[in-house]
Amino acid sequence: MAQRHTVSGYVTDSATGEAMIGATVFIQELNKGVGTNNYGYYSATLDDGTYTLVVKYIGYAELKRAVDLTADRKMNLKLSTTVQVMQAVEVKGEKTKSQTESTDMGRMDVDVTKLQTLPALLGEVDILKTIQYLPGVKSNGEGNSGFYVRGGGPDQNLILLDEATVYNASHLFGFFSVFNADAVKDIELIKGGMPAYYGGRTSSVLAITMKDGNDKEFHGQGGIGLISSRLTLEGPIVKEKSSFIVSARRTYIDVLAKPFINPESTFAGSGYYFYDINAKANYRLSDKDRFFLSGYFGRDVFNLSGNQPGSPNFKIPWGNATVSGRWNHVFGPKLFLNTTAIVSDYKFSFAGNQDQFGFSLSSGIRDYGLKVDFNQYPNIRHNVRYGFQYTYHIYTPSTVAVNSGDVPFSIDTPSKLNAHEAAVYVQDDFDVTDRFRINVGLRFSFFAHVGPYHEYITNAAGDNIGFKDYSSGETVAQYSGLEPRVSMRYTLDKRNSIKASFNRNLQYVHLASFSSIGLPTDTWIPSGKNVKPQEAVQYALGWFRDLKERKYEGSIELYYKDMANQIEYAEGASPQDGGNANYDNALVFGKGWSYGAEFFLKRRLGKLTGWVGYTWSKTEREFPAIDNGVAFPSRWDRRHDVSVVAGYELNDRWTFGGTFVYSTGQAATLPVQRYFIEGRLVSEFTQRNGFRMAPYNRLDLAATLKNRPTKEVTDKVTGEVTTVQRKYRSSWTFSIYNVYNRSNPYFIYFATEGDSGLSGLQLTARQVSLFSILPSITWNFEF
């Protein structure tokens, strides 16, 4: 048997030092490749011999390196972007991998650099909005935080920013995401076939990796838009050893709107703004050890101040903060370790007063977590990953306080809820034969709600008749379970592959929503005595095909998903029910299921790139306490969903982008009958979500004008004219949102008119829409 040795190292961008995630290092002689991990690390263990390593990454020049493998070799590979002046030979296109090759099922990468050329609402480039154009991912148009993946709710998406969980990923009730695209390097969405490494959510993973910061020279970029401005600065701290990036953004609607609000009006002095800051620094101690520290801090603040006696005043701040510290350690060429320590915090609060009355409500969640993740590469056929994850959660489900003058009402502050969540996992991405590859994994997760906890004991009528106090650390309820994950690929020929996946996921946190529109009042609720963990089992099957020499790729995926222990608020529940009661008193439980087919065709290369996606799906829920147990459409049930995304690079100055979406209208519950009590109109509702609003559709267009990437410089001495890259670049993005001015339904309400006597009574249904045609302009710069 031949001797074996390992070639390993990092793949980075030669100009910025950024680690290249998901680049393939191809061993030409074996016709096999290995991928880089999230930190750009690769490792291939081969029989001794001479090999040629080829690294390909779209937008970068192909890199070939010969390696004579007689001992373990460390090879750091630096890729250069294709030189702009060599325009003719440059391959343009998406910086993402072909779906046909990978084992990943239902996994999508989004090219961050493409985002800026797509149209965006008010010119605000938005990662969350862009992923909603992918098949199987649904949005609810404007004004809805969160996204829905394959019939799962918005709480079932694991959103990670540098490994830290982000609980509320949007600003301004869902209009803008909290992620500032300037600071983002990589976006990965997994909507099925979740590897065992990920857990704690049943629907999808959206993993966002921030840029590390240029470790060679100082750069900046930013933009000035209609409603906000942003600035990103990055550079070396110690050249080629340590770098930083800081990115900040703030809206100025409040400042701009002020002159237009009549100072006499009731709500003069009110305002809304949000800001966020991303920061990251890293330090490379050696090729074996590297440290990262990243943080996010964002706040939305809404103030309503009535300027007259007796009028109400409100202050509503909310937002996220995350900090994660990471340590990469290479034990040997075959073993890579990443350890992450995380703090994540989400808070919503609402305080109001009027006359002598005061009222406040707050909710939130804080996590302290640790993740230890080993990547092991025993030989070129295996990529093994194992480790453990632990999080200590502190939930504040909903705290209410009310006072009249100096008399506080006796509302018990519901105690904060504490919980341990832990998991161990192992997975292997195994190349069984040249055609068959399988990623098999197993995750074991554990959750315990622990004291201190003040449990109310109620009688049948719902009155509190006593309580039980749990001491600090005492277990109130605990759950655990196995989560098997399998996804596999069988290559039919060079252009076709079939993939299948199965996974079971458990989720120990639930988002309870009072309204049909996602608002920050929605509350995160942990599993506990009455609230069982959510569970989802998903089966998926797909056919992937490359077309026209990989210029195009297409896929068809089918899925079926069963969801257990879903929650809804009981009919008529409202946030104040939380006082003097257990945190889970107003909830009802049931199950759900979803199935669908997703069609996707993408043009990857050329001046024109983009995709067309179509999803047919059905999502239903069944709750014994709702409609007497009759199944009803879920709020995020959409029969048809179409999205078209296109980008066109006309020349090196002009780029055009366009998006179109169409989806079946949102389900809503409307009253069917009416009656009168005390002379007032009472609505009688029948089937939950039994009514469909009008379909949603919208076309957006954008055009970006860049200054020339190069300029001619005349040498003062020789008079020689040379073409050099511009150090300072800027661009204008013009975009039009809702080009054909469609009035998409946001919600429907009923208006009554004519109250003088009966004959004048008029009932009308009215549809409220948010955005009519909305042009915007943004100026971006980089240096």
Binding site: I316, Q673, I677, L681, R688, F747, D755, G757, F771
Partner: protein, 347 residues
């Protein structure tokens, strides 16, 4: 924001009271909505036609029994949400010819049906006062109510009353108890100062001491018993504004102050409901206050009723049907303990 709920339009939420969080939270939704649209200033709305599914008709009971008063029962039927709203359609809601009995302590009273076509114009005014229905409606259509004409058939505190109704082949039953009345410690009028310099409009205030037993429910009603220049009494009957239903979940055993806006009838058309006086009492008014004690099921009904009426068609709230205590139909059969007081409105 060009968006109003029924409650807003009637001015009942105009001066939100903070005594209990319910009212606040209704406002929270409106504020959040305003927050969404204020900065963007692009929201628009239009009338649409919605095609609602059909549902089988149900009977709706509105029945009360109070100490020393005969039972009053009105029986109506549900209508399709967008059914015509002309006077015939409204009159057709009322069910006549029903057999209505009230049973207590083994004795059964069969209630008498009184229909408005038999009443002369002065009795119609009295009937309007008793039922809360408008004089116009009572005069224009044959509307029947069920009550006991025998003066000995009146409610007694602490008694339980069973209601049986049969009409058009349907039977409905319910049961209620008249709870002990809880007195108000004091009542007064205070200027609201909603607009600077205003020296006439205000709210009714009261101080209450909740008994130290959990599970008390309350509902407030008020009636302006002074007259307009033309000699009409300002309110013909007691009116409960929306959101005037409470329980002692958060205030058990406490003494505290609360305020109430002036409620208005849907079928009212009081001249004061269409000007700045909407929702307010005015200096010079005399207010008859009726503080009612109610049981748990009755509290559930009135509180869900307040929420349902206040949130008409508002998708910001979880859609919720009113919790009825009627078996076989919708509506309420409420025994109510009553405490009466009077406020003279002086600045």
């Amino acid at each position: 924001m060009f968006f109003t709920t029924e409650a807003q339009r009637h001015g009942e939420m105009r001066s939100s009271r903070a005594t209990l969080p319910t009212t606040y939270l209704m406002n929270v939704k409106l504020i959040l909505l305003a927050a969404i649209s204020l900065p963007l200033l692009t929201s628009c709305e239009k009338d649409i036609t919605v095609d609602l599914p059909q549902a089988p008709e149900q009977f709706v009971v509105e029945g009360t029994i109070e100490p020393g008063k005969p039972p009053f029962v009105i029986l109506t039927r549900t209508q399709s949400f967008f059914a015509p709203t002309d006077i015939n359609s409204i009159a057709n809601m009322f069910v006549s010819g029903a057999t209505v009995t009230v049973t207590s302590n083994g004795s059964t009273w069969t209630l008498d049906q009184i229909c408005s076509d038999l009443l002369d114009s002065s009795t119609i005014v009295l009937a309007a006062e008793a039922t809360g229905l408008s004089v116009d409606l009572l005069a224009a259509a044959n509307i029947c109510i069920y009550t006991a004409l025998d003066p000995s058939h009146v409610g007694v505190i602490g008694q339980t009353y069973r209601l049986d109704i049969s009409a058009e082949g349907k039977t409905l039953t319910s049961e209620t108890t008249i709870p002990n009345p809880v007195p108000l410690d004091s009542v007064w009028f205070k200027l609201a100062l909603e607009t600077p310099g205003d020296d006439s409009l205000g709210l009714a205030w009261a101080r209450i001491t909740d008994p130290d037993t959990i599970g008390n429910g309350y509902r407030w009603a008020a009636q302006r018993i002074n007259h307009r220049a033309n000699g009409e009494m300002k309110d013909l009957n007691y009116i409960s504004p929306l959101g005037s239903t409470y329980n002692d979940k958060y205030v058990n055993g406490l003494t505290f102050d609360f305020n109430e806006i002036r409620g208005q009838q849907f079928f009212g058309g009081n001249p004061e409901d269409n000007n700045a006086e909407q929702g307010f009492f005015k200096v010079g008014d005399t207010i008859a206050v009726k503080a009612m004690s109610i049981g748990r099921k009755e509290y559930d009904f009135y509180s869900t009723y307040d929420a349902n009426v206040g949130a008409l068609g508002d998708l910001f709230s979880t859609p919720a049907n009113v919790k009825s205590n009627i078996t076989g139909g919708l509506g309420i059969w409420a025994g109510r303990g009553v405490y009466l007081d009077t406020i003279i409105c002086v600045p």
